[in-house]
């Protein structure tokens, strides 16, 4: 897992704290459509299984997974839209 020390500049942040599978991936799917190529999405969640699912989703859908920042129970995922 790629853990980041500080967050990159974000173009859109989506907060899905308290929501669970499969809402995290459905929201990710919707949110990525709302940013332009090259822009960065931040997905804020407390759902631990996102640690496996989000990088895998990026792999399957061909988006660039930049890494995650963990702050207590909150996980912030950073994804760059490349297609």
């Amino acid at each position: 897992m790629k853990f980041l020390d500080k967050p990159p500049k974000v173009d859109l942040s989506v907060d899905i704290v308290h929501l669970m599978c499969p809402v995290h991936l459905l929201e990710l799917n919707e949110a990525i459509k709302q940013i332009e190529l090259g822009q960065i999405l931040e997905l804020v969640t407390d759902y631990e299984r996102a640690l496996e699912d989000v990088p895998r989703w990026c792999e399957v859908f061909g988006q660039e997974f930049l890494g995650v920042i963990e702050n207590g129970e909150i996980l912030k995922f950073y994804i760059r839209r490349i297609k």
Partner: protein, 400 residues
């Protein structure tokens, strides 16, 4: 026998337009709103159309509407869901003493779980004490829940002032608007609240469906976990016919409230004036002006409330002694107790709640039929001797 229904705070009759809109969704369009084939699409579109109508009714965005099984679920969801989601900031919650049980009971449950709950007192009209609220607010306060209107006494609460006070400590404000919708205009932008509960059967829609408005960007923990329905915030296959019905009733209120409101208000005023003139030792409860347009509640001294309700029902007049649930449990109303009424007066409480179809003839019928019933009951009353001894009783009534 003539039937005069004046208990619209308990429930309202479903409008025929609502029923006819719902029916095809039981049979012809029975699909699951999540199914991808045409039957599912039809159901999904109907749910989304209803969401727009409900959002329009309260001036919200459609994505801010979460459908629930009714007002009680919406209230439980707001209290627990918002408390759990924001407990890192603090664990202090404030609710008023005159809230419905679907607010006070989850609040007591949260108290057992380690949250600190402050119950806000009210004045003799049932209005919450804003000075008290200001004093108890602290940085740890995460949630304030105060109803928009009280269903038992009709009093409207100063929500805008509550929201301004809450902003000082960054607390979330929820309001139970179940009694208010269908009686007054409700605009979430003007109120400034973060969450608001509504129930369809209180405004000519079906039972078993309601909604929680949740301002975008406000975190909430689901109460019912399941699938992806309602954006994952409320699992469970959507009650499509119910939601469709709620949409139609929301549209009906939005279009007609400006016509219904002055009519209800005029009839309410006639009822209040008429009963105060015709019956001795009767007192209006709740705020004299800041109250729901279709709400008239009283305390009738020296009689037993349930007997009064039964005798009125025998004449075809349907009313209530307070909250329906409290009445069934034969408990003294906590709302009237909080307003300072002693138990012996509370037992004589009666409330009339008018609706869109209430007529002047209905009110005249009550004004003719009720005074002789009261007279008869007082003759039979064990308080018979006492009620003639006015001095004794006048001391105990805070509304003298």
């Amino acid at each position: 026998m003539k039937r005069v229904y004046l208990d619209h705070m308990a429930t309202t009759p479903c409008d025929p337009k609502v029923v006819s809109a719902m029916l095809p969704f039981f049979t012809e369009h029975f699909g699951n709103a999540l199914s991808s084939y045409d039957l599912g699409v039809k159901a999904r579109e109907a749910v989304e159309e209803a969401r727009v109508k409900v959002a329009n009714l309260i001036n919200a965005e459609e994505r801010e509407i979460i459908f629930t099984s009714g007002g009680t679920e919406a209230n439980n969801f707001a209290l627990k869901g918002l408390a759990y989601a924001h407990q890192k900031k603090g664990k202090h919650i404030i609710v008023s003493l005159v809230e419905h049980h679907s607010i006070t009971n989850p609040a007591r449950m949260l108290e057992k779980e380690g949250f600190e709950v402050t119950f806000l007192p009210v004045d003799r009209y049932g209005v919450i004490d804003l000075n008290f609220l200001e004093k108890v607010l602290k940085d740890e306060t995460i949630l304030i829940s105060v109803q928009l209107a009280n269903p038992e006494v009709g009093t409207l609460q100063p929500l805008k002032e509550i929201v301004s006070l809450a902003e000082k400590v960054g607390a979330i404000v929820h309001t139970d608007a179940v009694a208010a919708i269908g009686q007054i205009e409700v605009d979430v932008q003007r109120l400034g609240v973060h969450a608001l509960s509504i129930s369809a059967h209180q405004f000519y829609g079906p039972k078993g469906v309601g909604a929680l408005y949740l301002k975008k960007g406000t975190r909430i923990q689901p109460l019912i976990y399941g699938g992806i329905q309602e954006g994952g915030k409320r699992g469970g296959t959507e009650n499509v016919p119910g939601i469709v019905g709620m949409g139609v009733s929301a549209e009906l209120v939005k279009e007609n409230l400006s016509k219904w409101k002055p009519r209800m208000q005029a009839l309410r005023d006639k009822l209040i004036k008429g009963l105060l003139e015709r019956i001795s030792h009767i007192h209006l409860t709740g705020h004299p002006e800041r109250r729901l347009p279709g709400h008239a509640s009283f305390i009738v001294e020296f009689i037993e409330g349930e007997a009064m309700l039964l005798m009125l029902a025998m004449k075809g007049i349907y009313t209530s002694s307070g909250s329906t649930c409290t009445s069934k449990a034969l408990k003294a109303s906590p709302v009237l107790s909080s307003m300072g009424f002693p138990a012996h007066l509370i037992q004589g409480s009666i409330m009339f709640s008018l609706g869109k179809d209430t007529t002047e003839e209905d009110i005249d019928y009550v004004l003719t039929e009720m005074p002789p019933i009261i007279e008869k009951l007082r003759e039979l009353s064990p308080f018979k001797e006492g009620w003639r001894d006015m001095e004794k009783w006048e001391e105990s009534c805070p509304h003298q």
